[in-house]
Symmetry: C2
Subunit: 304 residues, 2 copies
């Protein structure tokens, strides 16, 4: 990178919906995290990251300047310095889709992509920094590691890469959701955490014995009921979905209801429709590195 | 699954090119594997897997019946029983692209997707089975775990999931390759394995300090030179690429040369062009589970 050049990168981070979880706090953010399971979805956050002497340091989300504590933390941990981030998402904020985790992970990967080569880090270091940044901010325990992995992640052991342990369900169902916005964190703080931990750990054990999409939905639904976390809007939708023979559950934690296949639309709702996201955080464009030609496997020839 | 139904699934597994490696053998296939680094590519193997009482048990690759020891092993380990697999690939066999690893991993994931729900396994169990199947067959040490992960994988610690440890380079360069077919395994057996281990471990250490695409290519090139594994065809192409200021290296182990960006085409070759594959093995279709609608993030509405 020359002194005057502006380097740019575009990063995509999938949204993440947690179906059930148990929280695990330690004195060390790398070993702090959550067990549980959820789905990463093709609806996510796209970040355009720029760095250079003429770039204004600013973080924007959907056109507005925004301050996110976890993003500030990751800029601090990775010593990123001045950076310009323009992010776009169709996901509602605070509604259980891991937008703050996506912003944090996206800033970590994006800033790495525009760094001078000698400052480049491997993926595990970036994920660890983003995970610790979210844990310190108190805004997430398991979103970052799930969003870095992608797919249909099971959080088997809590914590950062090489500390925690991830697995996955192989299914790739269509996903539907309806969101009514943010959920009051008060309701969670008032929830009995012993009940939450017991319910989350029991659900994980059951899912590991039969790791299927159907089992996941049943367990996510039961977790919402057992922990008393369901909002009235979510309860109403779940009841309608049950009437038509489907299963729906609440995104933990947001005033959002989700289902697989067409379980929400079959019950008369008009949900957002997306898919399980194959793979995790991705750098889509980086400097002039990407030529963009498509793979052409027909021409296995040597013409020297 | 009813007794008469045929269940079907389509699975994609990316190809994997190893740039450098060191081999690590133990008495246990889960702890046996390789350290090193490579790239997973968008050219891969697509498997169509069918199961049911009227299905003929057969494994076909590019229209021909084929017997692959690692595939037989994974069918045995996972107690898959009768299965019909029709696989297609544009990758040459035995040429350093991990086709046998792809077939093995694809059969593990595909057979799981068509299994009765009570026999479903989580991803780590399937990857472990495929890894052990390849190790037992002696046809691969690190392809399966790399192909399950996708991206630009660094194999930090050898072995199956939750035993070995993976990391990644964040770059997403365009990849070019020219293949001259299979390499004689004799040349590898005749190579000094101490030299190979020393070269591979030193390369890994250097890459971890500066995990960039450019560094990877330099190390992969040096590994080929230091271990004496380069074939005469590969040597010739590498020399041409150096003349035009590029870097190329040999796929370990195949008579194949690869480069990033346009380094092969700039030297006058007509390579196959592909990209780093985002994400690893993927189930593309499974029974009637996939509705196929695209995500429509504009319609965040609730119309009950």
């Amino acid at each position: 990178m020359t002194a005057t050049a502006t380097r740019e990168a575009t990063v995509f981070v999938p949204g993440h919906i947690t179906g059930f979880f148990s929280a695990h706090h330690t004195d060390d953010p790398t070993t702090t995290g959550s067990r549980g399971a959820g789905l990463t979805i093709t609806t996510g956050v796209e970040l355009h990251v720029r760095r250079g002497p003429t770039v204004t340091p600013e973080i924007k989300l959907n056109g507005k300047s925004i301050s996110i504590e976890a993003v500030d933390n990751v800029i601090d941990i990775l010593e990123i310095g001045d950076i310009n981030v323009t992010a776009q998402t169709a996901l509602p904020l605070g509604a259980g889709f891991g937008v703050s985790g996506a912003m944090t992970l996206g800033v970590a990967f994006g800033s790495n992509a525009v760094a001078a080569e000698t400052n480049t880090r491997a993926e595990s270091a970036l994920i660890t920094a983003a995970h610790c940044a979210e844990v310190r901010a108190g805004t997430g325990l398991g979103d970052v590691v799930a969003q870095a992995r992608g797919g249909f992640p099971i959080r088997v052991e809590p914590g950062a890469p090489h500390v925690g342990q991830l697995d996955g369900i192989t299914a790739t169902p269509r996903v539907e959701y309806c969101s009514f916005g943010a959920v009051s964190t008060e309701s969670v703080l008032n929830a009995n955490t012993d009940v939450l931990t017991t319910a989350g750990e029991q659900a994980l054990k059951t899912l590991q014995a039969t790791p299927t999409a159907t089992q996941f939905m049943t367990l996510a639904y039961q977790f919402g009921v057992e922990t008393g976390l369901l909002t009235s809007e979510v309860q109403e939708v779940i009841a309608d979905v049950h009437t038509t023979g489907g299963t729906a559950a609440m995104a933990m934690l947001g005033n959002t209801v989700f289902a697989l296949g067409d379980d929400l639309s079959a019950a008369g709702y008009d949900p957002v429709v997306c898919q399980i996201h194959n793979g995790g955080v991705t750098i889509q464009q980086q400097g002039s590195n990407r030529v963009g030609d498509q793979c052409n496997p027909q021409t296995i020839e040597h013409s020297s």
